[in-house]
């Protein structure tokens, strides 16, 4: 697969996910050095640093691109710092890709790292932020992030007959997938009963249905195909970014999404035939000129077990309401036709917001190269990621070799 919009992924790297409590830049340095070493590119040769921001770590987090460039040692590389909540890593990749394809740089470092607080995410900024929907949803409703995950879960139950056991089965699958992933935080096999015996947090979701918040980092070195050719002699077998879909909604956003208190109105303009989250992967498919049937594996955003099932439908692995059947059939388990979250997913990693969309791409690269020891999807050639950030940030990346 090749076209003139491709960029190459020369190297990827992570800092293992966990709850270490260190400065986020320390994790970023480990991930950056790992990606550079994997790429066999020296830091001094990087021309652009696309940082994904963290908003819970003071000023250095807001200027992540500059923070990492300074800590690695100012090398004259230009920097950008992007924020799109959980999709920040994809926005940073999109920034690097546009710079490369516009001819403003040849080789870039894309990087995100975070240190997270314990417990629920609460609104940032302090004080009575009466204009801020993020403040409003907490103050007026107590609508935490798991509340939204739970709304989608409950709808699957009442509409499609999903059961608590189906949700638990997603956790069981992912816990097995991630068992041998050296970067995963939780490496313990769960059985259905573990999930069903864990306390209910936001009904119907239980503690083990919901992903934790983690410290972690991920980075990658991306470049133009010309640079790759010069760097490696040829581009045979190289992982290529075929598409980066960063997709915002089209009015009316008729599905209630985190952190909104109400949907858009469908009174005047009817709901679009393909709803927003169904457009995200399809924007990437269109860019890459492929379809769901061409995909060998997917990394999707399992904030909750039930949301992974939603994503099966959003990315076109099955029709609406059929995800439970797909799961039960084993198609999305390693060994099945389209393994989902072979990395172990957020179930095994937890959320490290600016890192996670990047880490999804890292996993695709390891899988496509055949380096995913203990969780390898055999013969994988094309993978997709899908992710969603608060306030209408959809992201989907397609990688092929």
């Amino acid at each position: 697969m090749s076209n003139d919009r491709d960029i190459a992924i020369l190297g990827v790297g992570m800092h293992p996910w966990g709850k270490w409590g260190h400065d986020f830049t320390e994790y970023g340095m480990v991930a950056a050095r790992a990606a550079l070493a994997d790429a066999q590119v020296q830091w001094k040769d990087i021309q652009y640093v696309a940082g994904a921001d963290t908003i819970r770590n003071g000023y250095p987090g807001f200027v992540a691109g500059a923070t990492f460039a300074q800590k690695l040692g100012w090398n004259g590389a230009r920097v950008s710092s992007s924020y799109a909540a959980c999709a920040s890593g994809a926005m940073a990749l999109d920034s690097a890709r546009a710079q490369i394809l516009a001819g403003f740089c040849d080789v870039a470092l894309v990087i995100g790292a975070d240190t997270t607080p314990k417990g629920f995410f609460a609104p940032v900024g302090g004080g009575d932020r009466k204009h801020d929907p993020d403040w409003q949803r907490f103050h007026v409703l107590g609508a935490t992030n798991p509340v939204y995950f739970a709304l989608f879960a409950r709808r699957r139950m009442d509409m499609y007959g999903a059961t608590a056991e189906d949700f638990a089965q997603v956790k069981v699958k992912n816990s097995r997938h991630g068992l041998n992933n050296p970067n995963a935080r939780f490496r313990k096999e769960n059985v259905i009963a573990d999930v069903l015996n864990s306390p209910i947090v936001s009904d119907p979701l239980r503690l083990l249905d919901i992903c934790a918040t983690s410290d972690g980092a991920a980075a990658m070195v991306v470049c133009s195909m010309d640079f790759a050719r010069k760097h490696l002699g040829n581009t045979d077998g190289l992982c290529r970014v075929k598409a980066v879909g960063t997709v915002a909604p089209t009015y009316p956003q008729s599905v209630l999404e985190l952190p909104d208190i109400a949907s858009d109105s469908t009174a005047v303009v009817p709901a679009p035939a393909r709803k927003w989250k169904d457009t995200i992967a399809f924007a990437a498919y269109e860019q890459a000129g492929i379809g769901p049937e061409d995909i060998d594996l997917a990394e999707v955003y399992d904030l909750s077990t039930a949301l992974e099932l939603d994503w099966y439908e959003h990315i076109g692995l099955c029709a609406e309401g059929e995800a439970e059947g797909l799961l039960r059939s084993g198609v999305t388990t390693i060994g099945g036709r389209v393994p989902v979250n072979a990395s172990g997913g957020l179930a095994c990693f937890g959320e490290a917001i600016p890192a996670q969309a990047i880490s999804q791409v890292c996993e695709l690269v390891w899988q496509l190269r055949g380096q995913a020891t203990g969780r390898q999807v055999e013969g994988a050639r094309v993978g997709i990621t899908a992710n969603q950030g608060l306030f209408g940030h959809g992201s989907s990346v397609i990688v092929a070799r």
Partner: protein
């Protein structure tokens, strides 16, 4: 309700204070007719409409559950939780006329086990929390009274 506490809305301008038949206050575009909640006075969200003026409008008191959940643990601040904490349900309710889905707390005592997607609900007011001087009122969704507009 305490007699010495002054009753104030938890947030200004989102709902009427008619305790018997409260309504949410949305905004309506005078040009294209679309609805917005929470209310605002400017900037129609319809990208095909360049109106910058939105007018306050009451929203339907009745609708059907799009989905629901229950907070089994206390949300963090700025949610003000009672001590001891009592789990409560939330529901996202579809208002047919406005084409809006509005998330709200569910009336005290009505739990997730009592709800179902598609169920008919009506808007009520409830006490969110109290401080030394105030009783903060919040809109809540409650199962529709039999014989009400939505339940017909």
């Amino acid at each position: 309700m305490s007699e010495t506490l002054s009753r104030v809305p938890i947030i200004d301008g989102w709902f009427t204070d008619d305790i018997d038949a409260p309504t949410l206050i949305g905004a309506k575009c005078s040009q294209c007719g679309t609805f917005v909640f929470p209310p605002r006075s400017s900037d129609c969200p319809n990208p095909n409409c360049d109106s910058i003026t939105l007018d306050p409008t009451p929203l339907s008191r009745f609708g059907r559950i799009w989905s629901y959940t229950e907070n089994c643990y206390a949300p963090p601040l700025p949610y003000v939780a009672a001590e001891p904490y009592e789990p409560y349900a939330l529901a996202a309710v579809e208002l047919a006329a406005e084409g809006l889905v509005v998330l709200g707390r569910v009336a005290t005592g009505v739990r997730a086990v009592d709800l179902k997607v598609g169920m008919e609900m009506q808007l009520e007011l409830d006490v969110s929390h109290r401080d030394a001087d105030h009783e903060y009122m919040v809109y809540v969704w409650a199962p529709a009274t039999p014989g009400s507009e939505a339940a017909q």
